[in-house]
Symmetry: C2
Subunit: 562 residues, 2 copies
């Protein structure tokens, strides 16, 4: 366990996921400092919001540290198929072009994504669980099945010359998960017995949840009872990727004598991927929306996308009106078999209130009966710490407060720990983790089809336009430096009337005209000075008229003598 | 109780607050249809967000229905001093110019607001609690003290020729509220005994909370224990207007041997208003931030604004760094003696994570020990229904789902009810509420210093710019309809590079130039056609280059022959 005599070292560098819940991307390296051979674990996305990233489609870790060291990158490993672990692949893979390893279900989802993006399906290679070993430079990697809220989630056992690492991925301790493999204490005991665990990189999502997590299998009975007690149509929503939940819901519906119909592209895709990869067997027979219209409401159950209130998903569509010929009515029941992810409350609440207006009975998870989390709670984390007895623990998959609490929990059990956030390079070679470098860890936005940096100023300008509105000033100046006609003003996103009911654009034009009439040759002859002066005038006048300082574009066209 | 033989009627018309939590504004009317004399109860604000109302300062009910009937409006009554009941007054009062009635503490706050807005302080008249009666046309109004999370909250007893109404205002059943009057069953029993209650308009905020509400007085002991057990500086945040909580916190701090310092403008204003109006007595001695710097951290407690993560409030400032010479450090404790209002999770989480980075211990209300709600829970509502035994109940102060649940609760007890949302005019004259009209119930935005309608398109354009970015195209056309030079493009909030790394604005200019070169006289001679064609070209090219369709302003300047 002593530092390598050769001077080689083992490093850990989170690029995403350590400091937020989302966009997971973790680098491991082994070798001489600055020459380490590298692997990347996960390449996920986070989701944008109007507050911080309006207009953006997806948020990913900035991988420029990696792309500057492509010759040292051996491979990419994906722990499971959730968007925050897999979703960056189709957008960033062509900058990396390294082999991607994943288990069958994850690989199936990954290939679907690669194909949609016009990339090579065969970049993704299917791996069997441990004992299969993938050798990637100095790393030997095994996938160990863990239970989570998507099939075939895996922890990674990463063997290096400096010791064995367990990278937990996302997991919970579910001994009866309905679909996929149960959590297996013995498997992890064997892993630790085989070779001591140098470092555990561990999911921190639920470190603040004080009670042991509950099994997926606890939901079947309450769900069946709820559905059996409902009179009209029943609609249930959950995360599409929670295939076990889809099955639990569908079986509960069937048990209550209902015909099942799946709505939403993601839902159908997941069931397809589950069947294709073999993880999903015996999913109850289900019908399409057209056939569903023929089924009496009291015999029908829809399982739909949109548990987070997403505007274009099936839940929101059903809340607004008819969707694919189906419509909710008074006496129907809508079930959220899901939790609202912090930040999505407003969108979910819109769906709930729209359903309430239709007279629909809404059942959510407030009583804890219809949803269980996919992450290990605090006592479950402690259990895993004890099972693996790692020399050190690096908390990941959490906001700063989660990482800090998890590090504290580890230290309280005598395990060396450290809060390593995105961009902190940690040397794991010694007995305790040590910060050896800090790199610029930014965010990359997928914006339409363009990839832009979070700090490029593009989104900052959008936010400013949203807050302050926009004014365009155009002015033509002739060859003598005299204004040709009056300045012209266009506004967007601003009140049309100023103080006393005058037209804002007219007031602006008049005041700009007055300024220009009085401006000397020095200002009129210098584009930069003139632009600055016109911008200042617009802001001052707007402040007086409407109490706001808009963003201003000034276009000065100079006519040259012909 | 029968309909008036004379044909006169009693109406209820919520303009705000019935369909959302915020911007309360309720109209009552009595008289011949279309000639009812009117009173307004409350005139509050709601708060904007980036998703729906970027750049907006405050949201208020659209009062144009009232301003079109000013000759019929008698008076305005304000139940209590919270922003969602009082906050619209300084912005809308000058359109109404009617006397405003409120209890002393509320009136003090209202006068501060009027003064800041440059309006007459004496528009607000102080009313004593029942039995004092304000006569306003056919209405006789009494203020009945209720417990809530601000001093001197009041329910209104509104007597009309058609019967007695109780308008609950915001309330909870607190028999030991620390500051201000306790909830008084006997007072309400007497009100119902004096004259039967025709209609109860009732707070619905906590209708989904199944357990009886808890008293403010339950917080003192846990808070004292928490503070006594803390080693470094203690900082506690709550709503500034919750004067009882300020006192509870300050007393708990004093009991633990700490010196108290209040931070934040709103906090000091509230304590001042409390002392000025006489509701707040014996508030512990407290010092300013300059003196606080001299107090050892372990003997200091700050009580600060910003429980909702507001960027400019003291909590967020302390999370970011030094504020007024005070700074949080490792080992300090930060307490949220508040709940996060749905929709504010992201902002609060930013504060929490920034404090976590400083090593501060964060204590929130997740264990239910350090905060109690100011609204009546479901069993409390049922208790009030039983106390007053109204003929009918109109739920207010809630989103649609709250109103619907509350109406259901009332109907289950045999009370006639109806979900009346903003803009629904309800005739209360008969035995059950009856919808008699629906008016356009919109929202007015305070935007800088301008008042604009929510549907004016101003905010829609801002949202579009934030989502899609903005392009300005300028083109000069000579007297022959020929382009003079090339079109000029400015972009804002858009990626600078398109496909293959070409400059987006250059590609746009080239493609617009090519279009213009090929455009016939018919297009070049017609501003509307030309503008439309240039916009279309920009959108098509941008879609190809960056996968987005921006907002476009086209400015065509035509030079006339001189």
């Amino acid at each position: 366990m002593a530092p390598s005599k050769t001077g080689e070292r083992l490093i850990y560098l989170p690029l995403g996921g350590a400091g937020e819940i989302g966009m997971n991307a973790y680098v491991y390296g082994y070798g001489m400092p600055g020459k380490e051979r590298l692997i990347l674990v996960d390449l996920g996305v986070a989701f944008p919001d109007m507050d911080g990233s309006p207009g953006v489609d997806l948020i990913m870790a900035d991988i420029s540290w990696l792309t500057a060291r492509l010759d040292r990158l051996e491979a990419i490993f994906i722990t499971h198929g959730h968007e925050d672990h897999l979703g960056g692949l189709p957008h960033l893979w062509s900058q990396l072009k390294k082999p991607v390893y994943a288990r069958a279900f994850t690989a199936t989802l990954g290939r679907m994504k690669m194909e949609e993006a016009g990339l090579a399906r065969d970049a993704i290679r299917t791996v069997k669980p441990r004992p299969e070993v993938i050798t990637a430079g100095p790393f030997e990697v095994q996938f160990v099945p863990v239970s989570h809220s998507i099939p075939e989630s895996a922890a990674l056992v990463i063997d290096t010359p400096a010791g064995r690492i367990v990278h937990s991925g996302d997991f919970k301790l579910d001994r009866n998960p309905i679909v996929g493999e149960a959590w297996d204490d013995a498997a992890f005991e064997a892993i630790a017995a085989e070779r001591p665990i140098k470092a555990l990189m561990c999911d921190s999502t639920n470190v603040f949840s004080p009670l042991p997590g509950r099994s997926e299998s606890t939901l079947g009975v309450p769900l069946s009872e709820l559905i059996a007690a409902s009179s009209g149509m029943v609609v249930a929503t959950t995360f599409a990727s929670n295939v076990a939940r889809l099955k639990t819901l569908a079986e509960a519906g069937r048990a209550a004598g209902r015909t099942i119909c799946l709505l939403g592209r993601a839902m159908k895709k997941m069931v397809l991927a589950g069947e294709e990869s073999g993880v999903l067997q015996g999913f109850p027979r289900h019908i399409g929306p057209e056939d569903a219209q023929e089924v009496p409401r009291k015999n029908l159950m829809l399982i739909v996308t949109g548990s987070q209130g997403e505007r274009r998903a099936a839940s929101a569509q059903l809340a607004r009106g008819k969707y694919l010929g189906l419509e909710m009515r008074e006496g129907d029941t809508f079930l959220f078999s899901s939790k609202t992810i912090p930040g999505n409350e407003r969108e979910v609440s819109k769906v709930v209130n729209a359903l309430s207006e239709k007279g629909v009975t809404i059942v959510d998870d407030s009583n804890g009966k219809y949803h269980v989390s996919g992450h290990a709670n605090r006592p479950d984390l402690e259990h895993v710490h004890r099972l693996l007895l790692p020399d050190m623990l690096l908390p990941m998959h959490g906001e700063h407060r989660h990482l800090r609490e998890h590090a504290k929990l580890a230290k309280d059990s005598g395990i060396a720990s450290l809060v390593a956030t995105n961009g902190m390079m940690i040397d794991l070679t010694g007995d305790a983790p040590k910060v050896v470098d800090r790199i610029e860890a930014g965010r990359t936005y997928l914006d339409g089809t363009a990839l832009i940096g979070a700090m490029d100023g593009v989104v900052r300008d959008r936010i400013r336009m949203a807050l302050n509105g926009h004014v365009t000033v155009t002015l033509i100046v002739d060859e003598d430096g005299e204004a040709l006609g009056e300045p012209w003003v266009d506004t967007m996103g601003l009140p049309t009337k100023g103080r006393g009911g005058r037209e804002l654009s007219e007031v602006l034009e008049a005041d700009l005209g007055a300024f220009i009439a009085g401006a000397g040759r020095k200002v009129m002859g210098d584009d930069d000075k003139l632009e600055e002066a016109l911008k200042r005038t617009v802001r001052q006048v707007a402040m007086t008229e409407i109490g706001k300082k808009p963003e201003v574009i000034v276009v000065i066209s100079r006519l040259s003598a012909e």
